[in-house]
């Protein structure tokens, strides 16, 4: 099994979710993260004191998938999340040695 993790722009979340649904992904876990990267940040001014906001809101999307689905998933995410503008984010794939569905105790691909 593989864990596909993507860091995307928050506004692309809906598209990514729909993209993943359309290729048959049944489960996703997301979280709010902040990213620092080439995109850079911006400056805000609070009562006259400037401060740099270097971390930009992003959404992290995590999908467990069978090894054979990995490329399908990364392709779907790439297609849905790309705006072509800097800061679109990254996808990375990590090996997973075991997956368990808590409710049933099933494991392996069945658990996804």
């Amino acid at each position: 099994m593989q864990l596909i993790t993507a860091v995307i722009k928050p506004h692309q979340l809906d598209a990514v979710k729909e993209g993943l649904k359309s290729i048959g992904v049944a489960g996703i876990t997301i979280s709010e993260v902040k990213g620092f990267g080439r995109q850079g940040g911006h400056t805000e001014t609070y009562r006259g004191a400037e401060y740099a906001v270097e971390f930009i809101p992003k959404v992290k999307v995590e999908v467990l998938a069978a090894p054979e689905d990995t490329t399908k998933v990364t392709d779907a995410i790439t297609a849905a999340a790309a705006t072509g503008k800097i800061g679109d984010g990254k996808i990375w794939v990590t090996p997973v040695s075991e997956v368990i569905r808590i409710r049933t105790g099933e494991s392996g691909t069945d658990a996804i």
Binding site: P10, H11, E32, H42, E44, T45, Y46, P57, K58
Partner: protein, 462 residues
């Protein structure tokens, strides 16, 4: 109708004139045979002075309550919009008031109260406010039943609060996408021209007053005016990004804080007890009656919206109930000086009942994006109020009420259309899509409305 009011649109002539003869009976009891509490003007110089002073103090207090409504509008608009625009909403409410009051003082007042030549459509008594510092009211033309004892300063204080209200109404409807400079620009035009001209027709003694139009506290002059400008503004600026799906169906953009929004509703509720009773313009026995009718209409309005939101939306919606309370308050303004209890309750209830479908229609049919329901609460309920007077008040004519409403709609529609059209053409009406997505707090004012310790990461772009 069971009571007559000495104030407001021409209803003053029917006050009873009884003889007063307090008699001190043997047992120390005072037997009051007949006292005419409506004879407000008579007795010694000390008596007159006291009547005048109480009137002015009362109007001052009422004006403070109306100014408090600025906090209510700010909280309502801020609460019903997203966190990323919360600072912007507070800021524009503050500047609406600040700029609006000064512009109304400089230009609006002279236009609204043109003096002798009241019949004119665009009378202008001149710049500034003559007599503002005199302190004393002009007692020259005082009559026993139509006594008008306010000093210019009291009168201005109260009316300026109304002008600020008219401008503020618009802000909620165009929230989350309007350039800050556009707020400043339309505040100037509304408080300096559009609102004063409408006021001149009635309270300035103009053509509507002559035709017997009844609008005691401004369902039409204030709320319909503000609501129509809000409708035109919201229509011309277009919906917020993401408000309507590709299929044209409206999508929910939840406000960031119902507690703040409802606090705003409670404050507006309180403020209307300055707005309506204060419109008696004198401290007489009509004040508590007006207060009770205002209270009833507000309560009935909240109930009305409870019923219709429960029926139409399956659940009793909190902010809709709040809108309903306000709808009742707005609708009763027109007739609160001359209605009886049951008609007042009906007026409020109907306004509340209607406000929910109005919100849905404006969004679903007109495809106008009004984040706080300003058009429904102010324009629709204002219209309900004007019509209710035509139905329930003997002295009023439904035709005249509709004429007045129509005139306001046409005049405000055209002038605010020109106003927002120019702002749009010049390119200072709406922020860029990037700024809108980022939020106006940062893009317009430099920093978010909530600190990093309160904002979830997604809030910045939600």
């Amino acid at each position: 109708m069971r009571w007559k009011l000495l104030t407001g649109g021409g209803l003053a002539t029917t006050a009873m004139l009884l003889a007063a003869s307090p008699v001190l009976a043997q047992d120390g009891d005072v037997v009051v045979e007949e006292v005419d509490l409506y004879v407000r003007f008579g007795g010694t110089a000390a008596d007159i002075a006291q009547t005048v002073i109480l009137d002015n103090i009362f109007i001052f207090i009422a004006g403070v309550l109306v100014f408090f409504m600025q906090a209510g509008f700010a909280l309502l608009a801020s609460g019903l919009t997203r966190a990323k625009n919360s600072s912007n909403m507070m800021m524009k409410s503050l500047m609406d008031a600040a700029l609006g009051v000064l512009v109304f003082a400089l230009v609006g007042w002279g236009l609204a109260y043109p003096g002798g030549d009241g019949g004119a459509w665009f009378g202008f008594a001149g710049w500034g406010i003559p007599g503002l510092m005199d302190g004393l009211p002009d007692l020259a033309g005082a009559t026993e039943d139509g006594f008008y004892p306010l000093s210019v300063s009291s009168d201005f204080f109260f009316q300026a609060a109304f002008a600020a209200t008219a401008a503020t109404i618009v802000a909620g409807a165009v929230a989350e996408r309007t350039k800050f400079v556009a707020y400043l620009a339309y505040t100037v035009v509304i408080t300096g021209f559009i609102y004063p001209v409408v006021v001149s027709w009635q309270w300035g003694g103009g053509w509507l007053a002559e035709r017997g139009f009844v609008d005691f506290a401004g369902s039409g002059l204030v709320h319909l005016t503000g609501g129509i400008a809000a409708l035109v503004g919201a229509a011309l600026i277009g919906p917020r990004i993401g408000k309507f799906g590709a299929d044209g169906k409206p999508r929910a953009i939840p406000g960031h804080s119902i507690p703040l929004a409802m606090t705003g509703v409670f404050i507006l509720f309180i403020g209307f007890f300055g707005f309506n009773p204060g419109s008696a313009l004198q401290a007489d026995m009509s004040v508590p009656v007006i207060a009770v009718l205002t209270l009833f209409a507000a309560c009935a309005g909240a109930l009305g919206a409870l019923v219709s939101s429960w029926a139409l939306l399956k659940k009793p919606d909190t902010s809709m109930a709040g809108n309903g309370l306000l709808a009742g308050l707005v609708a009763i303004c027109a007739g609160v000086g001359s209605m009886d209890v049951v008609p007042a309750i009906i007026t409020g209830f109907v306004a509340g009942l209607i406000v929910v479908p109005a919100v849905l229609l404006i969004e679903r049919v007109l495809k106008v994006d009004d984040p706080v329901g300003a058009v429904s609460v102010h324009a629709v309920s204002g219209l309900v109020g004007l019509i209710a007077v035509g139905i329930f008040v003997d002295e009023a004519s439904i035709g005249t009420q509709l004429l007045g409403a129509g005139a306001i709609i046409v005049f405000v529609g055209i002038t605010s259309g020109i106003l927002f059209g120019i702002l749009k053409a010049v390119g200072i009406l709406r922020v860029s899509a990037e700024q809108e997505i980022e939020g106006l707090d940062v893009s317009e004012h430099g920093a978010p409305g909530y600190g990093p310790d309160m904002l979830t990461p997604a809030a910045a772009t939600a």
